[in-house]
Amino acid sequence: MIFSPFISKPDNVAQIMLKVLLALLPGIALYVWYFGAAILVSIALASLTALGTEALMLRLRNRPIAPFLKDNSALLTGWLLALSIPPLAPWWLVVVGTAFAIAIAKHLYGGLGSNLFNPAMVGYAVLIISFPAQMTHWVAPHGLGQGLVLAELGFADQLQYIFLGALPHGLTLDAVTMATPLDTLKTHLHLDQPVRQILDMPIYGQLAGHGSEMVAWGFLFGGLYLLAARIISWHIPVAYLVTLFVIAGIFHLVDPGHYVAPLFHWFAGASILGAFFILTDPVSSPTTNKGRLIFAAGAAFLTYMIRTFGGFPDGVAFATLLMNICVPLIVLYTQPPVFGKKGKQP
């Protein structure tokens, strides 16, 4: 440094991103435990695609490649996207999604620090709109194969499907995959089944989907680590979860037969992942604490609306993107008062 200050804390961007990646590990570990190792293939594919696309875009934009590849931000985008899409999907699904996220949603908007939208969610949105069929074939949790799917694939078979598109003799895709807990809920609600009856199905565990609720606990644990390490502030997770709970709670109290309990909404789908990892992306979320509360509350409201009344099973991605658009306005109107301009004195 040639001008003051001549000292600084040694933290850097790569360290922050690395801590977020580490915070994802408990959830990923539980994912592998309940759903098999295919998710690791997705994550690996996403990581390679993310780094490769980032290197390509940096070269095209005439920027230095090494410092940006080392900052782990592309890896994080890849991992979040991989965790949002079915692990038993053709390899090109995660590659297309990740490439789009990095190239279009991140670099065409200006690269690190300049993206208006959360890149992982943009990738997800592109995939779910363009390939709705592949995006709804999820893997069943272990040990429940009998009630949910006809057969379970071993890891080798999963690899074969992901890369070659070939399934073992006699099995179709429908036989080895199923809809998500949220998707199942929506379908059966449309068939006018009451909530209690739906929740008796073997796909559901204590609070939400069997297996996936445990993964949500894993992400919650990681999220609490992020809070303790002061990587994120409490405003977004707390505002999101509280708002989601309150809205779901109101509907549930009014009509428990048609609207599922609030805790279900917490532990189903990507709520916890969204609250702690996706909405908290610093670049696309507000920079003021009041703004963060409004942003997260809005996202929770939209998540609930999309899940309950909208066309998609889970609303976290679109809720994030819609609130991302509002961020500049939110930030403008939630500026805290400056020292010496606060008006009141003790």
């Binding site: 003051s4 200050p5 850097n12 690190l112 620090g113 920079t287 400056v338 020292f339 010496g340």
Partner: protein, 521 residues
């Protein structure tokens, strides 16, 4: 227990103070030469009143204050003025400034001193004495203290003495408070009397328990009605606005001065200097300077103003891998263009820097809007937005986001994980805005001058035309007057010619009328 308040943010950098508080303040030996700049204070430079070859005594006036905001400069010791010329000074630009070079004669002979009893003089008289004694703020800004004592109609409730010393490495105020608390306390009483303040509060960070104890002892021993307030150690707790907020809970309104809310703030070393100037008649000739950092023994020295920094640093033995020198602390200090510059009234600390203690920062990454800077800003600003606007040259929006409320403390740069030199961007934006306002002022003045110039040309043209017309008229009148009187025959001829002209004019008129009729038909 006095209630204390908080300001938003702040950081806790490693303090690095114990290295220089192990030994008492040492007296630096008389240097080989003294280079005394004539502009060591805020405001206008002093005008030299000596020239090369003059012999001066210790404390003799060598620079006369000039203008409303100015202060005097004195010879720090007796000797001969070798030159009054441009010399390299402690400014990061490396530009030289006017200095008086003094070669000491070793006798350290004082000029006549005139101590006063402050109780027997009016505030205005004392202010003049302080101005002529060269007393300026020794906290770093070097603002002439006499100006700060002019209060006009405001009532000053609280006089605060700033003994916070929040920057790492700097310990000169700490040692001064430990060793010379009595003079500080008496100086504070003089200041209180001049301001007619109701109370005196001395703010000291709680990492200086010895200084707190020494001041308390001095207050009791001298029977003063003053209070030592131990404040939490946090940077930048020694910033005037932050200190006022912590001790009184009041926030100095943006764009206003502390006196506007009934508070005035002086550094403890300034209070000490005021005491020496009034009670002993001594002008400001020396100050305590901390030499720290990459040196063999960090230490505080009482050094004469104008001492070459190189000679001071040599006393503490800078280690061979020292690559540059910083005047001030690591958060807000300035890099010296060379070690061969003189110490001035604002020099509170010299840090010998090396790659080990001040490692070079990695290249800056883009801002990821993590808002760690917002968390630490003591002025409640949005540093990442100010950076965004400064970088894109949107200076209007930067001002709207309170750019000029930034105190440039450096806390934001300290915590930034992208290692962006944020304060540099704010300095850039502020200087661009000031330059534009200056240009606009010049342009406005030029426009007014131009308009006046145009008016003047018009006026001159009109005046010339009027003059010409007037001259014509007088010439005509003169011609008529001087013409010989006409004979009756000539008169008759003139009348006949006139009648003929009138007839022709009539005919012309009626013809015009006919032709008009012809046209309209």
């Amino acid at each position: 227990m006095r209630k204390l308040y908080h300001f938003h943010g702040g950081i806790h950098p490693p303090s690095n103070k114990t290295q220089s508080t192990r030994t008492a303040i040492a007296h630096a030996p008389l240097p080989t030469k003294l280079i005394v700049p004539l502009h060591q204070h805020a405001g206008e430079a002093a005008k030299p009143v000596v020239q090369a070859g003059d012999h001066v005594l210790k404390g003799q006036l060598i620079g006369m204050p000039e203008g409303f905001v100015s202060s005097a400069v004195h010879a720090p010791t007796s000797g001969t003025i070798a030159a009054v010329d441009m010399q390299l000074i402690a400014h990061p630009s490396g530009l030289p400034n006017l200095c008086a070079t003094l070669i000491p004669d070793g006798k350290d002979e004082w000029a006549a001193l005139k101590p006063v009893d402050y109780r027997n003089h009016s505030s205005a008289e004392l202010q003049h004495l302080l101005r002529m004694a060269g007393v300026v703020g020794l906290g770093g800004a070097a603002f002439p203290s006499d100006i700060k004592l002019r209060i006009g109609k405001q009532k000053i409730n609280t006089l605060i003495l700033n003994g916070a010393e929040c920057e790492p490495y700097i310990t000169c105020d700490d040692m001064l408070m430990r060793e010379r608390a009595a003079e500080i306390v008496q100086g504070a009483e003089m200041l209180r009397s001049m301001l007619d303040a109701d109370e005196v509060l001395i703010g000291v960070e709680d990492n200086k328990p010895e200084a707190v104890a020494a001041l308390q002892q001095a207050i009791t021993a001298n029977g003063m009605n003053q209070e030592v307030v131990a404040i939490p150690t946090i940077y930048p707790g020694g910033g005037a606005k932050q200190l006022i907020r912590v001790i009184t809970g009041l926030e100095v309104p943006s764009g206003k001065l502390p006196t506007d809310i009934g508070v005035q703030c002086f550094n403890v070393a300034t209070a000490y200097t005021v005491y020496r100037a009034l009670a002993h008649g001594e002008p400001l000739l020396s100050r305590v300077i901390t030499i720290a950092g990459n040196v063999r023994h960090a230490q505080n020295y009482e050094a004469l103003i104008g001492t070459p920094i190189a000679e001071l640093v040599a006393l503490s033995e800078a280690l061979p891998d020292t690559d540059r020198y910083i005047m001030g602390g690591p958060m807000m200090g300035i890099p010296l263009p060379s070690v061969h510059v003189p110490a001035v009234k604002a020099t509170n600390c010299i840090i010998a820097a090396s790659a080990k203690i001040f490692p070079p920062s990695p290249p800056a990454m883009p801002c990821i809007r993590c808002t760690r800077c917002v968390e630490v800003c003591p002025a409640d600003l949005q540093p990442q937005d100010l950076y965004w606007f400064a970088q894109s040259r949107e200076f209007g929006r930067a001002q709207a986001f309170s750019l000029f409320d930034c105190i440039e403390c450096g806390a934001c740069s300290y915590v930034c994980p992208s290692h962006i030199p944020l304060v540099q961007f704010y300095r850039f934006a502020k200087s661009e805005i000031r330059a534009r306002e200056h240009d606009k002022q010049l342009a406005d003045q030029a426009r007014v001058r131009h308009e006046y110039h145009e008016q003047r040309i018009e006026r001159e043209k009109r005046e010339r035309a009027d003059k010409l017309a007037a001259r014509e008229k007088t010439a005509q009148a003169a011609k008529l007057a001087s013409a010989p009187p006409l004979t009756p025959q000539q008169q008759a001829e003139q009348a006949g010619l006139e009648a003929g002209r009138a007839h022709i004019r009539e005919l012309a008129q009626s013809e015009v009328g006919h032709s008009d009729e012809g046209v309209t038909k």
